[in-house]
Amino acid sequence: MDDRHLENILGNLLRAGVLLAAAIVFAGGVLYLVQHSSDAVAYRTFAAGGPDVRTLSGIVRSAAHLNSEGLIQLGLLLLIATPVARVVMAVAGFYLERDHLYVVVSLIVLAVLTFSLMHAT
């Protein structure tokens, strides 16, 4: 497998993930505006929100109930996952190319990424 082929797989994976994320956020957005379009909004003071918008399980549960905010957060989570998926795909791609140096390089990046994501929760 050459670089160009690998790049095409990466590109397609990324595009599918991004489109799906956008579709979910859009659906949540439409639902929200249908229900609340004339509400007054400001967001001047910060309030951290409940687990429904802050934790993985809460977001999934809320989205499953077709709650508009839950759907939006689910789409955003999917978007946040796309760069991680790119690094994972790069590790696999370099491995197939038997490019051991860059397997190690990509694994280091993946390790740091995983560490900081785990550290958060």
Binding site: D3, G11, V25, S37, V41, Y43
Partner: protein, 279 residues
């Protein structure tokens, strides 16, 4: 302001942010934070959360098209990403013990200088292809990219300097909490002599990975407010897609002028933040 008006205004501004972010490799945060925080009076924590999502949206949205076109260089991106992430961790640690006002002002002045070079410097196309030096050859960093319907080979030089600057870029983003796209593009373009379109698109690849690393913290702290971030994400994605289409055909000179103008604005933002003690 009603929810509908807010959504439409933020969506429109975010489209511009995504367009500029994809074109310059800087991400959309340069536009998103001031628009939300200063123009619309949204709490800075929500603005920062939305900005983080906008960086990932610019990166993933634009890079999908770039990677297919063979502009960005995954080897360079991965290698330099190590330096950036280590720098970011150290920067965030040091930030607790140091005054960031002075750093913001100094960084702003450095950006003014870079903006000047981008706007004034260089010949018509400003692209000099170099041959890879010994280290870059060993690391297989050279590649090719589309130019005038053909594929143009390019080399890479000064890898240690580039690596060092990337470390600095990461440290700055950790210290100041800003996207480090500007330093990334400058390091690849100026120090490593990588073609400008490859530099900006590879920066786009990298900023998404860097931003994803801090997304978990932002989400669990509640900075990512769904109703604020929804129009940002959709606008930035659309803008980034449009920016990608333009970048592929744009002249390098034009791109350098856009880049120079945007980092000049970023410089002013940094210096003002430093002087007014907002960082």
């Amino acid at each position: 302001m009603t929810a509908l008006t807010f959504t439409l205004v933020v969506w429109a501004m975010s489209t511009i942010a995504g367009f500029l972010g994809a074109l310059t490799g800087l991400g959309g945060g340069v536009v998103v934070v001031p628009v939300l925080a200063l123009a619309l009076g949204v709490d800075i924590k929500y603005a920062i959360g939305a900005s983080l999502v906008s960086v990932i949206a610019t990166s993933s949205g634009a890079a999908a098209a770039y990677v297919k076109e063979g502009f960005s260089n995954i080897r360079i991106g991965m290698l330099l990403e190590i330096a950036t992430t280590i720098g970011a961790v150290i920067g965030a640690y040091v930030a607790a013990y140091t005054s960031t006002h002075a750093i913001a002002i100094i960084f702003g002045l450095v950006l003014v200088q870079s903006a000047y070079q981008s706007l004034m410097g260089g010949n018509a196309e400003g692209e000099a292809i170099v041959k890879s030096d010994a280290l870059a050859t060993r690391l297989r960093l050279g590649s090719d990219y589309p130019l005038d319907g053909k594929r143009q080979d390019y080399g890479v030089v000064n890898v240690p300097t580039g690596f060092g600057l990337m470390f600095g870029a990461g440290a700055l983003s950790g210290l100041l909490g800003i996207g480090s796209g500007a330093v990334k593009v400058i390091a690849m373009d100026r120090a490593m002599r990588i073609p400008f379109k490859v530099s900006t698109t590879t920066s786009n690849f990298m900023i998404g990975v860097t931003a994803a690393a801090s997304a978990g913290v932002y989400l669990s702290r509640g900075y990512i407010e769904p109703r604020v971030t929804m129009p940002v994400m959709l606008g930035v994605l659309g803008g980034a897609f449009l920016g990608t289409k333009v970048l592929m055909r744009a002249r390098v000179r034009t791109l350098r002028i856009v880049f120079g103008t945007v980092i000049l604005l970023l410089a002013v933002e940094m210096i003002l933040n430093g002087v007014m003690g907002r960082v």
